[in-house]
Amino acid sequence: MLNKILSFVETETSGKSYKTHKYCFDGIEMPHLVYDDQPNLTLKQYGESEKITSPRHLYNKSKQIEKFSQPLFKYFLDGSRRTYKVDDMAYDNRVYPIIAGQIGVGCCERDKRKNLKSKLIEHQLVMAVPENASKDNKKKLFFNNLVTKINEQNFIKTRGLNFSKILDYADIKLQIGEKYENLGIAKIQDEMIEQEKRIVSSLVYKNLLNEDSYLLKDGSLEYKTMKTGDFKDLSIIKSNYKCVVGVSKSFNPEKCIDARGHSNAQKIAELKLYHRTPAFMWESKVSRGTEGNVKFSIWYLRIRDAKYTSSPFEGIIKVEKILISEQEQKYGLKTEEIDTISANLINERNPVCYGKDNRWANHLYPVYLTEVFIKSKYLSNEYFLNLF
């Protein structure tokens, strides 16, 4: 029998493998709503320089931009991960799941001929194991050694593969409803976010982002501060995000509460086509770091007519941008900038991925393409699972 990864891990960590059924989490998940944004979003104050109280119509501005200038967004970033349960392994009479994952983070660039080209792509293979798979305290060293040894296996070498990391999830007493699987998956998710931040940082380092070429990132920018990693504290690296806009396809409308504690949901649902809400300022609790809370300007924008969509929230995207200067943190983003970003987002509404993705009304095509590109780099599930 081939010496596959699991039997190797079993020996190296002196655990006991149960050789349980291997499967991909993404395929068997029960359908449930996943929101890109953080729950319990409370919008506190006005997030823009002008005090506007009603939605703003931006179609004319978007037409002007289309006619007289180049699109603002030049780079598009998305990250995705696919997780698998590959085994159950016993350590000290407890049984822990072994989770494996493929992480893809990619950035595409739009050239002058309106074609999307790959700019940066990172595809990583990772595993998440319980921290007590390492019997000594030097677990970082242990897991680094383990991944090196795995990569030296013929089985991996001949296939030209490379595992980048073995992540360890906490060995804690589980609360009701909690599962070790979720701890492992969360670790892999964190790793993906770390990669996203790394790519933003590398774009900034190369001076690619400026007033005329923004980065559009899929999903929220609200990164929670992590314990480890080179980019763990958003409050420190926030200046990287000067020319980055986060756009969430899905958000929980019920959780949008205004400063007085009233729901904003109806106002958002009734947004007219090509209108945006006033921007609100939002102080993130989860991305509180050494330099204090990170503040965001958040607003909603309707890019598709409600009459064509199946729910009033389809066709609306949530836009957010990190407030960087002191001026911004105090008075919010300039209304002019918000309008420009919104108008440019309106111009990104076409083409659509109708027929390919159910979220077509909320998708922006270049982001969708970036996502498709990243997923095309994945190893197939069958191939990946059979490595273990």
């Binding site: 076409n350 083409p351 109708y354 027929g355």
Partner: protein, 551 residues
């Protein structure tokens, strides 16, 4: 490695096979059907493919998606991002440098080929007995990589003994069938005149349209410098045909039987090139059956009458000329005159109707006078010499007469090659005689009565001519109308521009759909050629004719 233009894509639905493969390429890469591309294959071999089909796809799931992508039907939308799209190409495998024919592998680079590689791919390198049959152009749209190279075929596969006969089809005017045949004949004559070749060749051409072939030894004043250079590049000279003789149907008045004008004929007469042909009863009565080639004769009564006459029954043995012949027939047509019970008076009358109309023509005469440059076609053909071209004008004659003369020419050539004529030393007989006839459908279509002597003659030539050295170059508008045994025996086929109805016929079943559709768009001077030595169909071009063109 040439310029890489894409990579092989083998999918679940469209795998690569021994016969073909798919590759993707940029949507801006201009390729054409028939272009040759190469793919790296195992053991450092190279597989060559010929482009058959090009498709453009995007990630648009449906037409509805496209509609929605334009703000639900706004025709003025200019999106910021181009939809992701690419072209994918289906190519047919034509060869591998190491004869490895397992399917090419996914992801292998596909690149353009050099002229030498194209020759190798199409089996055009190392051709024995090369005879130029046109040139091909590839990658026309990319000026750096554009390739233009002469195409040679093995002459033994065109004019025997390996393979023989050529059929050209295409609609009138647009296909330039005559021009292409003449290009090939020029190449053949040039080769035999200028190279040391064991055997030799002569040509008999029938002019069936206006003055088309009546000045093939005069140069074309309108020929451009580029066309002349083209001939030189193809290894030919830019001079018109040589050693040509013209045969006009005799008539009292020049204009009765030919479209040629007086000056032309006088000019040719002065150069000792023009002759008048005639039919004399005593020598030509045996060809009378040819007058009946298009006439249904289920009871074979006409055949009986012809036999009756040829075997000199009744008073037919004493007849010297056509008038006497008609008078004799008249006798048989009178009521109660029938002594022979086998042939009824009604049959004699039918025979008379057909014969009288034909015999009214001046070419049926009492005698042919050599001093007046008159001749019998059979006598002239007997004396055809190597490299000579005989142009026989039948354009202005009616259809029945045209058949008669064509049949007579074929018989004469046949008899000559079979050694039926006395007194001709074998070494004087050209080893190959090429006959060119346009509008073959008049003589060998599916509708021609099965017992037509001309049809039988044509089938015989196509089936046995290869070994005898009689080669038929034929042309017609619609190949599908031609008798299966005739076209089936042609080794070389040239397809010019044709129409949609024609390509839906069975004859074109083996041709890939894209090539078929190309046939309806071919430009003048473009042909698709099929020959046993080519690995696939070739799309070739040829220059404008070298000889004088009448408008």
């Amino acid at each position: 490695m040439g310029k890489i233009i894409g990579r092989i894509a083998a999918t679940e639905k469209n795998p690569t096979t021994i016969d073909d493969f798919f590759f993707w390429t940029s949507k801006d890469m201009i390729l054409n059907p028939f272009d040759v591309i190469k793919v790296n294959h195992i053991n450092e071999s190279i597989t060559y493919g010929v482009v058959e089909e090009i498709s453009h796809i995007t990630d648009t799931a449906s037409y509805l998606t496209s509609f929605i992508s334009n703000d639900f039907g706004d025709v003025n939308i200019q999106p910021n991002t181009q939809r992701i799209g690419m072209n994918y190409v289906r190519a047919k495998v034509v060869g591998n440098t190491k004869n490895i024919y397992i399917p090419v592998r996914d992801g292998e680079p596909v690149s353009l080929a050099t002229a030498q590689e194209i020759r190798q791919a199409l089996g055009l390198d190392n051709i024995k007995n090369p005879l130029v049959c046109g040139y091909l152009e590839m990658y026309e749209s990319s000026s750096d990589e554009k390739v233009s190279l002469p195409i040679h075929l093995n002459s033994q596969f065109l004019i025997g003994p390996e393979g023989a006969h050529m059929n050209i089809s295409g609609i009138s005017g647009l296909a330039a069938k005559t021009s292409y045949t003449m290009f090939l004949l020029k190449a053949i004559q040039y080769k035999y005149l200028n190279m040391e070749i064991e055997d030799n060749v002569a040509f008999v051409l029938l002019n069936v349209k206006g003055k088309d072939l009546l000045a093939i030894d005069e140069s074309n004043d309108e020929l451009s410098k580029i066309d002349k250079e083209c001939y030189l590049n193809l290894g030919l000279d830019d001079e018109p045909f040589k050693h040509v003789k013209y045969f006009y149907p005799y008539a009292d008045n020049i204009h009765t039987n030919t479209y040629a004008d007086k000056n032309l004929i006088e000019h040719q007469t002065n150069l000792d090139k023009a002759y008048w042909y005639k039919y004399i009863f005593e020598y030509d009565k045996e060809n009378l059956d040819l007058l009946f080639s298009n006439i249904d004769d289920p009871a074979q009564t006409m055949e009986s009458i012809i036999n009756y006459i040829i075997s000199e029954q009744g008073n037919f043995g004493n007849i010297r000329n056509w008038d006497q012949f008609l008078a004799e027939i008249d006798k048989h047509c009178q009521a109660g005159s029938s002594k022979d019970k086998e042939i009824t008076v009604a049959s004699w009358r039918k025979f008379k109707r057909i014969v009288r109309k034909a015999l009214n023509n001046h070419i049926f005469a009492l005698r042919a006078s050599e001093q007046d440059r008159e001749t019998r076609l059979q006598d002239s053909i007997k004396s055809i010499k190597k490299n000579e071209i005989f142009v026989i004008d039948i354009a202005k004659l009616d259809e029945g007469m045209q058949s008669f003369i064509f049949g007579d020419v074929m018989r004469a050539v046949y008899d000559l090659k079979l050694g039926q004529f006395d007194g001709i030393p074998e070494e004087d007989i050209p080893s190959r005689i090429i006959i060119f006839i346009d509008e073959l459908n008049k003589y060998a279509s599916n509708d021609i009565p099965k017992n037509s002597p001309i049809l039988r003659q044509i089938i015989d030539i196509t089936e046995r001519g290869r070994s005898l050295g009689i080669i038929l170059f034929s042309a017609e508008q619609f190949k599908s109308a031609i008798h299966d045994r005739v076209k089936g025996n042609c080794a070389t086929h040239a397809y010019g521009r044709t129409n949609a109805i024609e390509i839906s016929k069975n004859d074109y079943r083996f041709i890939p759909p894209v090539y078929k559709n190309m046939m309806t768009r071919l430009k003048q001077g473009e042909y698709i050629i099929q020959n046993p030595i080519f690995r696939s169909l070739l799309n070739i071009k040829f220059p404008k004719p070298l000889y004088k063109q009448f408008k």
